[in-house]
Symmetry: C2
Subunit: 312 residues, 2 copies
């Protein structure tokens, strides 16, 4: 029996799971908060992994999904916007020197793409585009069975591509990025603006709006909430019309919290994609679908990464 | 001594060249018109290749640069906008069955990218973005030393990505594509519109304008011609700001006729790229340069393709 270990580092939570060969259901799973007990996240991470590291048997490799850009050659997390003070954390070196096992590190959107490709919605495809729509917009791309990383691991930063140069302000300080039009944050902001303009809706005006509330209202037939998802979907579809020309994939997988809106988001995405794409040749055999793995995508992608650097 | 043969199929001209191992200067070179003598281009192509095919010695492989989208698995030219009646031409099958030598076919922009990467401006880089700006805008992308093709060879159709949804009409019938803003054709059209508005220029109003005339006028200090190249460069830079986020390359090579404007085009490209790119991390070590191989890029790319399928 051989084992691989996968780790998912989030802003609020650390998760680690141990998998035996050919299985995608962990035989051990542990989680803890990222911050706490006056310990650094590094110390908490090592304690968490230790708690499921088998004493007798050998772990072939550890894969890590990290919440920020990663230098893939060094396994270095360059920054982690959701973990204060985490900059240039040498995750690979840290874990290899502690556990004496090969370690590979990838960013969370790439790991989710890897997970959905190997074990989820894009299984069997060779050219896959994965978008995750939550507070921000991330992406991962598989080209001819290889994850696209770029020269320094900074590729597929699709949320910050410009859709319309004079568009709304993005969290990064620039204008008109896809994220500023179509992320969960952008959806909430647009709904708030519409409510402030006096547009009728079942959504509460007093209380703090969330993407989840908007999705629920849309599912219950609220016109404004439906329009908000349609607007987001239209911009995502416009971006996808460019991305399918760039990558010519056979599968597009939409993950992240906002994708739980299902067809309320996927339908307008497909309409805009078909409207804006240059030629039907790009969409004829294209599958556009929601992600399958939910919160497990990053962990399972880290498992796929671990298995790729040291297979059974 | 071993040989590879490269072929460049253009709308007006066919070229074939024979190369000995480790050399990029052909030992034999032949050219003819694509149409003529009541022969199909296929017949003319085979006659041309035969004229330089060595009688005694073995050719290891033939590489072909074809003027349109190519199914890379089948070596099938799907269409050739500049060769009337050429649709679904099985180039690989045709040449293999005639010459009994392995043949590979790629589209001309991809072959030019391959040429500039292997033998030209991007030599030594592993992640390269090549744009060719002439009547249209084409592209080729090298990722981790591999040409990006996509599932059916239709990838990197960057000229038809949407830059501004309500922008000018593109030759393909859609609106706001990069090609409609920044190609040689778009430059000429914009200058004509400005001249018609009465803007002062040394450019002739009676005679048919070309990109070449505009470049020459810009080099001689004509304000309108300079503004036309700056406008084109700004849109190319905006598109590049997205593409470097998507691919994280270390080199961007600008080829095609319009690139002969040199710094008059490259400077505004770099200004817009730096203005629009999300983070300086993407441009810090990025080389942006004009192509080196001129008209030879496609032929040398076809040579690189031939060498890749059957090396010395």
């Amino acid at each position: 029996m051989s084992f691989h270990l996968a780790v998912d580092i989030g802003g609020t939570q650390l998760r680690a799971a141990l998998y035996s060969n050919n299985h995608e259901i962990p035989i051990k799973l542990a989680r803890t908060t990222t911050q706490g007990d006056n310990q650094t996240p590094q110390v908490r991470l090592i304690k968490l992994i230790s708690s499921i590291m088998p004493a007798e048997e050998k772990v072939l490799a550890v894969g890590v999904a990290a919440p920020g850009p990663v230098d893939p050659d060094l396994g270095l997390l360059l920054e982690a916007p959701n973990i204060p003070g985490w900059e240039n954390v040498p995750l690979q070196q840290l874990l290899e020197s502690h556990f004496h096992v090969p370690v590979a590190v990838g960013n969370d959107a790439n790991m989710a793409a890897l997970g959905e490709w190997k074990y989820g919605a894009a299984r069997g495809h060779h050219h896959v585009l994965y978008l995750t729509i939550s507070t921000g917009i991330g992406a991962g791309v598989i080209i001819a069975d290889q994850l696209l990383l770029g020269s320094r691991g900074l590729a597929t930063e699709i949320g910050h591509t410009t859709i319309q140069p004079d568009g709304p302000l993005c969290g990064c300080g620039q204008r008109g990025h896809l994220e500023a039009f179509a992320s969960g944050t952008a959806i909430v902001r647009w709904v708030q603006e519409e409510l402030a303009r006096g547009i009728a809706s079942s959504l509460p005006t007093g209380q703090r709006l969330t993407g989840k509330l908007i999705t629920e209202a849309a599912q219950n037939g609220d016109t404004l909430a439906i329009a908000a998802l349609e607007r987001s979907g239209r911009y995502i579809g416009l971006a996808l019309a460019n991305l399918v020309l760039i990558f010519n994939p056979t599968a597009v997988v939409i993950g992240g919290g906002v994708s739980q809106s299902g067809y309320l988001l996927i339908d307008p995405i497909c309409r805009a994609l078909n409207l804006f794409v240059m030629s039907p040749a790009y969409v004829r055999d294209l599958v556009v679908t929601t992600a399958k793995l939910g919160d497990e995508a990053g962990l399972l992608g880290a498992l796929a990464l671990a298995r790729s650097i040291n297979p059974d």
